[in-house]
Symmetry: C2
Subunit: 239 residues, 2 copies
């Protein structure tokens, strides 16, 4: 931070880009917007925008999250900074440094498109390819991070509505990781971790299903998982 007058510094534009995830119909979906102008006009991109003079990147990200999802209250949603992308040529017009965020939504309300980008749409993760700028990489990094954090945090409940069944929670893991989990073992692990979930006392149950109704749970107060809930290893040795 020394040397403000020793080195000239170029002014940068600073933006935020958001990888907004939800689990819909057993598949991981991500919110994309269609670009209306060059460069990459007509291509899909992650929602985002410029950081304004009076706000931090976190504030800008949450503001954009509200604008792009059309939700009126985004204060409780999980939003975390991923990393910053600053390759000199990542925007063909000018020097743009982008702070990337990942957001997790429980339900999947149809995107209505905010003032900034009217054509926002939920897209299955696998279909989100050939995005504008370096957004393919940002999106892949975001998914990697979320998948890894499921192992050692209680983050999975951020994908769930306020009350949920253990089956729904398990489906979050299976969807993000792309692997099947043993149901009794998953149940044992979740219930054995204090503060991960807490039972809804009213013996409530979920309607609509075919089999035995499932008990409802709420997210607990714990934030980390000790010991972690490791995803099954396709190859290699260990536990």
């Amino acid at each position: 931070m020394d040397g403000y007058d020793k080195y000239a510094f170029e002014p940068f534009a600073v933006t935020v880009d958001l990888a907004v995830f939800t689990v819909r119909e057993g598949a991981l979906h991500v919110l994309l917007v269609e670009r209306g102008q060059e460069p990459y006009a007509g291509q899909w991109a992650l929602p985002g925008g410029f950081v304004r003079p009076d706000e931090s990147a976190e504030s800008a990200a949450r503001r954009e999250l509200g604008e792009e999802t059309g939700l009126t209250d985004v204060s409780g949603l999980h939003l975390e900074q991923l990393r910053t992308y600053s390759e000199p040529d990542r925007d063909p017009r000018m020097r743009v440094v982008s702070v990337a965020f990942a957001a997790l939504l429980p339900d999947a309300p149809e995107a209505h498109g905010g003032s900034d980008a009217a054509r926002a749409r939920w897209t299955p993760y696998g279909d989100a390819r050939a995005l504008a700028f370096d957004h393919d990489r940002i999106l892949a990094d975001a998914r990697d991070r979320i998948g890894a954090k499921l192992e050692y945090t209680c983050l999975a409940t951020a994908f769930c509505p306020p009350e949920f069944t253990l089956g729904e929670l398990q489906q979050v893991y299976e969807t993000v990781w792309g692997t099947a989990l043993d149901r009794p073992n998953f149940r044992r692990k979740v219930l054995a971790t204090p503060g991960f979930v807490e039972a809804v006392p009213g013996a409530a149950r979920l309607t609509g299903g075919r089999g035995k109704p499932a008990a409802l749970y709420r997210a607990g107060t714990a934030t980390t998982l000790h010991p972690p809930l490791l995803r099954p290893t396709p190859e290699g040795r260990h536990a």
Copy 2:
């Protein structure tokens, strides 16, 4: 990224700040520089500087790492992006967004101070307080991250010279975590993890010690620890 012409955007200065760690004499040390000018003149700060027009934040961070440590070759050192700090008031003069990095050094060569900051010094982590700007927080975040990554990565070898004993490796863990570890158990765990370390075949040994000479090891090819090497939990339940 839409709306380049809809919203005016303020130009930002973009800097990198580095939390450079090493283990020296059984204590975690961090590289600090003394500020020569306002604001915070005379106070200590993390080394860093402006990102230049033709380089990414990663390039700038590695360049600064070389300048501040005085090392001629920093290409092999561990350097990772932490997160970006962008509070509007973090620099009293202007809007500065800083991308923070953590770097790990094996040996602790006395800092010689580069062109940018002549007064770089290794400081015990506990003594690094009241730093300029928001560097107290950056430094704390950096230590948290490094400590957490020791659990599930092979990062600890980045603190060690090319050849090291298991005792030295254990001291890295104990120093960063601030806890004592059981030596036979640590040894069993490290050797049972394939690719963490590999024995130096020449039955080499470390000189200078008092007791039985220790075998030497090199860093292996593995990067992650499965299952992780969890730090002992002071409170609470689990493994």
